[in-house]
């Protein structure tokens, strides 16, 4: 099947070349990081996790969101998502690989990473997160491979794959729940120590992931013969709408609890994000941008007239995705570290090498998405022909 990725027009190859170029430059920066150390990033003694871990967290959500097409199709026999499930799984695979790469580039001693399996530690949430992510990757590789292979041969997939697919549904929820547990179990970080973190993560994931999938389908309609169809995307849009509304609701719950209880160690983090703290205002414009984008998204999504207009829906998906990326892929991790346990207000902003390396990981993810989608769509095109 892989040979399908080696056939393409000029546009396809330019896109591949661009991604490979970015990956190459990022790799050079990574070599620099591995010889100098993580001091090349903006991280320091007080803000010890930053952009890398934030991208990891955000992308676990994108990976988990594949379940939003798998669940209706397999549990509710919602036929319209039939064409989309493979795209959902082929989005989950590169997302998990990106997650793992972001963890890898964030490690001080990356080549010792297998120590996690050599000394399995059940009381560490990071151990469980590694298990959950690895398992999810494996499930999605097996499922997509078997299902696509059956589709290519024009046969029904073997029966044993059904329970595996069913297992992948709770597993998708588990990866983002355990990722939230990385944060929400830390007594040292009151900003993260909230029981609503896992539900909030899931809500934002089920908005951002399907929004991205809708955008991918719009792009595929332009660059390939694949048309997901109008109705499946409209149904996905409804999922995005509900998830985004629930996410905003959860955020407001957090804000209420922090503001009304007025406990400084909870309140100060929100103050930092929305108004700045002791001169540290780096997140303020971003958080207000995220807020405005969230409001715009909800208006465009909830109103049926705008949602049913595909051009407007595309805009709504972009605003939704960006709003949630700022919230989770930028602010959530940083804000947890400021103020520090000693009431200091450290500054952190990603450096150029940190940003380029991150960009490289995203380019790698897009590269894998491109190749996988190319394979899936080539198989379908051949069947249609």
């Amino acid at each position: 099947m892989l040979e399908n990725a080696l056939r393409g027009d000029r546009r396809y190859w330019s896109w591949i070349a661009l991604l490979l170029g970015i990956m190459f430059v990022a790799f050079l920066f990574y070599l620099r990081q591995s010889s100098y150390g993580l001091g090349i990033t903006g991280l320091g003694r007080d803000v010890t996790w930053g952009f890398y871990i934030a991208q990891f967290t955000f992308l676990v959500g994108v990976a988990a969101s594949g379940v939003m097409v798998v669940l209706p199709y397999y549990l509710h026999n919602f036929k319209e998502f039939g064409k989309l499930t493979i795209l959902g799984e082929f989005l989950a695979i590169p997302s998990v690989i990106m997650c793992m790469t972001f963890i890898f580039v964030d490690m001080g001693q990356p080549f010792r990473i297998l120590n996690v399996f050599l000394y399995p530690t059940p009381h560490s949430m990071m151990f469980w997160d590694t298990v959950a992510l690895g398992g999810y990757l494996l499930l999605n590789i097996v499922i997509s491979r078997i299902v696509l292979d059956a589709e290519r041969k024009g046969i029904t997939p073997p029966h044993w794959i059904k329970p595996v697919i069913i297992l992948s549904i709770p597993w998708a929820f588990s990866i983002h729940t355990v990722t939230a547990f990385l944060y929400s179990g830390l007594a040292a970080r009151p900003f993260w120590m909230t029981a609503i973190l896992a539900p909030r993560f899931l809500a934002s994931a089920f908005a951002a992931g399907p929004a991205l999938l809708i955008l991918f389908c719009f792009i595929l309609r332009r660059v390939s013969k694949f048309d997901a169809g109008r109705e499946p995307l409209q149904k996905l849009a409804v999922i995005v709408t509900y998830a985004m509304a629930i996410n905003v609701f959860f955020v407001l719950m957090e804000v209420f609890t922090a503001m009304y209880s007025n406990i400084p160690e909870h309140l100060l983090h929100f103050q930092l994000m929305y108004f700045g703290l002791e001169g540290n205002t780096s997140l303020v414009p971003w958080m207000w941008l995220s807020t405005v984008l969230a409001v715009v998204s909800l208006i465009l999504l909830i109103n049926p007239k705008t949602r049913r207009n595909e051009a407007v829906l595309a805009v709504a998906c972009i605003t939704t995705f960006l709003s949630l990326w700022i919230d989770k892929g930028l602010a959530m991790v940083i804000a947890g570290f400021i103020p520090s346990p000693l009431a200091a207000v450290p500054k952190y902003w990603p450096t150029v090498p940190e940003a380029v390396i991150s960009l490289g990981v995203y380019a790698m993810g897009l590269f894998i998405v491109t190749v996988l989608y190319k394979i899936a769509l080539s198989v379908r095109e051949r069947l249609a022909a």
Partner: protein, 266 residues
């Protein structure tokens, strides 16, 4: 009930310690005015007689004695020198095992509005609390940081993968990461103690290596004011227990349930 070899040696060892009376470190570690029954006979450290052991190592800091020594940095200089702690000269890369923090920041959860004059805007030494319930140990995915039976929270820098989860989990900011190669920034390398590589976490270890050689922690030894009292918390007759019986001590963020074992006597 039968006992195996290991248990036999343990009991035999403890019995020997018991026969020897109060261990040398107890005599040395406590201030003269604390316990009348024990007299400090010499200013010079006693000759090591074997490893110092305890059921639960802990430290008490006599804050006022410490404050009497204005701008004293002997404890941190001694610690950082014997442990080859680098000095990068910037707060971002900073590595510190013990340092002086303002009383207000060290105990900021107490929200002290009005402090006695001699405490206001003063600094106290802070370092790893060697918690009984250490969050860093709980989160570490490789058991590179672990708690010994005598309460010391240790670091295995050869196993550490540098994920810094322990730093996110520590409520006291006691841990440091080698953001870059530390070796060029060590003023004077002490060959008796290992240097670290970049990409691993480090922190105070209550000088486990010195205890094994029968020596007190470097900070305790360096403190001329005898403001740092190191001892066995489970030994009701120890100097530190005696001190805690006599004076009020506070701990940092006790509400988190980490059970920190550094006591600040105010």
């Amino acid at each position: 009930m039968s006992i195996d070899r290991r248990q036999f040696f343990k009991i035999a060892g403890l019995a020997t310690l018991g026969l020897a009376g109060k261990p040398a470190y107890e005599v040395f570690a406590q201030g003269e005015d604390v316990v009348d029954s024990v007299t400090v006979t010499s200013e010079t450290p006693p000759v090591p007689t074997g490893p110092l052991t305890a059921h639960r190592w802990a430290m008490a800091i006599d804050v006022r004695k410490c404050l009497d020594q204005k701008d004293c940095k002997k404890c941190l200089l001694a610690c950082h020198q014997v442990h080859n702690v680098p000095d990068f000269g910037n707060p971002k890369d900073e590595i510190k095992w013990i340092w002086k923090e303002s009383f207000e920041h060290a105990f900021h959860e107490q929200d002290f509005e009005h402090l006695p004059d001699d405490l206001e805007h003063q600094v106290v030494p802070i370092f790893c609390n060697h918690c009984d319930n250490p969050p860093c140990v709980q989160v570490c995915p490789t058991q590179a940081t672990f708690r010994r039976e005598d309460g010391i929270v240790m670091m295995d820098q050869h196993r550490c993968i540098g994920c810094r989860y322990c730093m996110a989990a520590c409520p006291y900011g006691s841990r440091s990461f080698n953001w870059r190669d530390p070796r060029p920034f060590i003023k004077q390398v002490d060959p008796a103690y290992p240097t670290r590589t970049r990409g691993v976490v480090e922190k105070c270890t209550f000088c486990d290596d010195r205890l094994a050689r029968g020596l007190l922690p470097a900070c305790v030894e360096a403190c001329e004011a005898r403001a740092m009292i190191f001892g066995d918390l489970e030994d009701a007759g120890s100097g530190i227990r005696e001190l805690l019986r006599q004076r009020l001590a506070i701990r940092r963020k006790p509400g988190l349930g980490t059970k920190p074992e550094i006591y600040y006597i105010v």
